[in-house]
């Protein structure tokens, strides 16, 4: 049964210790984001820094807290396929609405 399947896999699952470490990393990244907000830098550079930092938080939560890194690859497909479609649609919409396509 599926539950037995899960028990077998549990050996390479992270345990509470790793979870706390991930949680600490997430907190630190949030703190860095907070700091970056008060720097006076080029808005484009700032945008990219935040995008990278937020994406790494996103991936840490999805990969470790949601177990996607250790789970069946088909779950990743169910989640990331619409994610990529949505990001593409949003980027195209922004390009259209900010008149970048004329």
């Amino acid at each position: 049964m599926t539950t037995e399947h899960a028990h077998v896999e549990e050996h390479n699952h992270p345990g509470p210790r790793q979870y706390v470490i991930i949680g600490a990393i997430l907190a630190v990244i949030t703190l860095i984001e907070f700091g970056v907000f008060y720097l006076s830098i080029d808005p484009a550079l700032m945008t990219w820094i935040i995008l990278i930092l937020s994406s790494s938080k996103f991936l840490l939560v999805v990969g470790y807290f949601m177990h996607l890194k250790f789970d069946d690859v088909r779950f990743s497909g169910l989640f990331f396929a619409p994610f990529l479609i949505m990001v593409s649609i949003a980027v195209v919409l922004m390009a259209l609405f900010f008149n970048l396509t004329r």
Partner: protein, 218 residues
């Protein structure tokens, strides 16, 4: 084709559990849901500059509420680790923490909304920013509230013996939902709050377009 006896017709073709797969499919669908909301907010940015805009967003306060929500996610995995190992005490403690932290987050949001209304006169009717921002974050808050209700129900059911190590999958599925609500907030905090409010004071429309052009997405 043949008919073999003793086939376990409850085994799934992929070996994956139906309900867990349902949750992942639902989350995939919810990505489109929140993606459309966030996208609508972004394409309406700086479209009409009358009334309060992103400069009213409080980054220090929201950083704290973001931290609370992130820590609730940590509590959620600890609760799941507890029940998977049969440690009901650990499971109940951390589940209660998730619900409490989630409620604190909702409290921050209610504070934010009432502050906006009281100090800046910002309601969903005020301007485009009010409509897109409050509806988007309001839907996120509703998702958090649903998650809290769900986890309280699970906690309650565990005292009635309906949730135990044998069906920890119920907790895992609720946890997936909770973490998803968390990552939606990670995106909103990064894109809407930090990038949105960066240098917002006195920024002209031209600057926003310039930034959008420079990074290619806005």
């Amino acid at each position: 084709m043949q008919y073999l006896s003793g086939i376990d017709d409850h085994r799934t073709s992929t070996g994956l559990d139906n309900r867990k797969m349902l949750m992942w499919a639902f989350l995939g669908s919810d990505v489109m849901f929140f993606g459309t909301l966030i996208g609508t907010h972004l394409i309406y940015r700086n479209r009409n500059l009358s009334g309060p805009q992103e400069e009213i967003l409080s980054i220090p306060i929201t950083t704290i509420s973001t931290f609370v929500l992130l820590m609730s996610s940590l509590a959620m995995v600890l609760a799941l680790a507890g029940i998977q190992r049969g440690n009901m005490g650990q499971f109940r403690f951390w589940t209660a923490i998730v619900c409490i932290f989630g409620s604190i987050f909702i409290g921050f949001q209610m504070f934010e909304f009432t502050e906006f209304a009281a100090h800046y006169g910002l309601t969903p009717r005020t301007n485009l920013f009010g409509s897109t921002f409050l509806v988007m974050t309001g839907f996120h808050g509703t998702h958090v509230a649903v998650g809290i209700l769900w986890l309280w129900s699970i906690l309650f059911a565990s005292y009635k013996g309906k949730i135990h190590q044998g069906n920890s999958l119920q907790v895992e599925i609720a946890g997936l939902y909770w973490h998803f609500v968390d990552i939606v907030w990670i995106v909103i905090f990064g894109v809407v709050y930090l990038i949105g409010a960066y240098g917002a004071e006195g920024r002209a429309l031209e600057d926003a377009h310039h930034a959008a052009r420079a990074v290619g997405i806005g």
